[in-house]
């Protein structure tokens, strides 16, 4: 916890700000959301880490994918992710986003979320405990420090492929591409 160190603040205020105020988009994808209420309320108090839930993706910079991702939800996830302003971070919460988990052979869940949007970190387990969220947050801090949490940049660069995967999974998307889909990105 180096909130106090002025030097770092003066060096990279933006990065520090990003670290110490994670605003989580308030979006219940699956069963994992059940862990969020204790996390943000008196029992574990996420606010002391500067983590607070916000209502709209426009304000958020942390996207917590809580639980399994059905095809229907994927559409919303992609839309929400694209509406979040850069820099933004994604954390997959629970086993399902990683590899489908207990829905590994379900016909309408997404097995590998990172084919569709970049994921900066995973929290394995079914269910993970709230503490693990804090672990994830602190881990994300170090990643930001080291400049490893670059999911949003990857998304911009590889947007063509992401868009292709998304359209494979969801069919034609009704919204236009976020970034120009051309060869100049390669």
């Amino acid at each position: 916890m180096d909130r106090g160190s002025i030097k770092k603040w003066l060096k990279a205020p933006g990065k520090m700000g990003q670290k110490y105020s994670f605003w989580v988009v308030y979006f219940c994808t699956g069963c994992g959301i059940i862990e969020i209420p204790p996390t943000i309320t008196s029992r574990w108090d996420a606010e002391r880490f500067g983590v607070i839930p916000v209502a709209t993706p426009r304000q958020a910079n942390l996207f917590l994918i809580t639980g399994y991702v059905s095809v229907k939800t994927l559409r919303a996830i992609i839309r929400t992710y694209e509406q979040m302003p850069d820099p933004k971070y994604t954390v997959g919460f629970g086993s399902c986003p990683i590899n489908g988990g207990m829905y590994w052979d379900s016909y309408n869940t997404i097995k590998h979320l990172d084919k569709y949007i970049p994921v900066d970190g995973w929290i394995a387990g079914c269910m993970p405990r709230p503490e693990s969220i804090f672990i994830a947050v602190t881990h994300l801090w170090t990643m930001i420090d080291k400049g490893m949490a670059t999911g949003y940049i990857k998304y911009r660069e590889k947007y063509k492929n992401y868009r292709k995967n998304q359209e494979e999974a969801l069919g034609k998307l009704e919204w236009p591409p976020l970034y120009p889909v051309g060869d100049k990105n390669e």
Binding site: G17, E47, G50, R58, P85, D86, P87
Partner: protein, 293 residues
């Protein structure tokens, strides 16, 4: 002259600091009331720094200009309200001007929010307007009570008159109480955070705001807290020098905080009815007394 210029520059900064302090304090205090540890006092500042460095989207010129207007309106409002006797612009605008300048901030937000073509924003604005209609009634009653009592529309005069003798709250307790009762409504904090109800209308006017827009609105909110409380202190608690003024503001703010931290959110019609019932009646009685005596 020089002093005036300096104070014009300094006063907003003081207001900003106090406002941010209050913002952080409120989060901390509420956390403690909730038996939480709570964020550091500086958390709002951290948020604003982050937001300034974060990208955002814009829906058009008005979308930007509205936010700028609202913050600018709040900034100049600070210059009209005596802070511990410092009121650089008090001679070029009195209480009536202050009442009207208080329009600029909501108007700016309403305009810029309007261009973000989002019904949540519209709902938020309409709630803001209705809530304002609600709390303006007791607010105006109590302001008129003070103005009628001191036979002046100048805030500086009011403060002078109080410092010479007793505070207004002793002459006009009812309007003061009414003002205090609607203070949370004016600040838009619980139980009156209907305007930006994140769970109902996705934080109302701020739905499309991100990055610098959110930063500016946060700063504006800080100013807003400062203005409303400073106005209360000037009107009823007799101003004071820099220190006492700050102390009075702190007291008022904390009192309000303790009350509103434990209340759930009201519905908009409940809020209007509340504003038009007890605060309005109290303020009206106070006004009638002030008129008769």
């Amino acid at each position: 002259m020089i002093i005036k210029v300096i104070s014009i520059i300094v006063l907003p900064l003081i207001a900003l600091i106090i406002g941010f302090f209050f913002l952080g304090l409120s989060r901390k205090v509420i956390a403690r009331i909730h038996r939480r540890y709570g964020p550091p006092i500086s958390q709002p500042l951290i948020d604003v720094i982050k937001l300034i460095n974060q990208e955002s989207i814009s829906h058009g010129k008005l979308f930007d200009m509205g936010v700028i207007l609202s913050l600018a309106g709040s900034v100049i409002l600070v210059l009209f309200i005596p802070f511990g006797g410092i009121a650089p612009l008090a001679t070029s605008g009195d209480l009536l001007v202050i009442i009207y300048l208080m329009l600029l901030a909501p108007l700016g937000v309403a305009l810029s929010g309007g261009e973000a073509a989002n019904p949540n924003v519209s709902i938020g604005i309409s709630r803001k307007m209705m809530l304002a209609l609600g709390y303006e009634v007791p607010f105006l009653f109590s302001l008129l009570a003070v103005m009628t009592w001191y036979k002046t529309t100048s805030l500086v005069e009011v403060v002078k008159a109080q410092q010479s003798f007793l505070w207004a709250i002793f002459y006009l307790p009812l309007p003061a109480v009414a003002y205090f009762m609607i203070l949370p409504a004016m600040l838009g904090i619980r139980p009156f955070d209907i305007v930006s109800a994140p769970q109902e209308i996705a934080s109302g006017t701020a739905v499309e705001y991100g990055g610098r827009y959110l930063a500016l609105t946060t700063i504006q909110h800080a100013f807003h807290i400062f203005i409303d409380i400073a106005l209360f202190v000037n009107l009823f608690l007799g101003g004071g020098n820099l220190l006492t003024f700050f102390v009075k503001m702190l007291v008022v703010f904390l009192l309000g905080l303790f009350i509103n931290a434990v209340f759930p959110r009201l519905r908009i019609d409940q809020a209007i009815k509340y504003c038009w019932k007890w605060p309005a009646i109290l303020a009206l009685v106070g006004l009638i007394i002030a008129r008769i005596i």
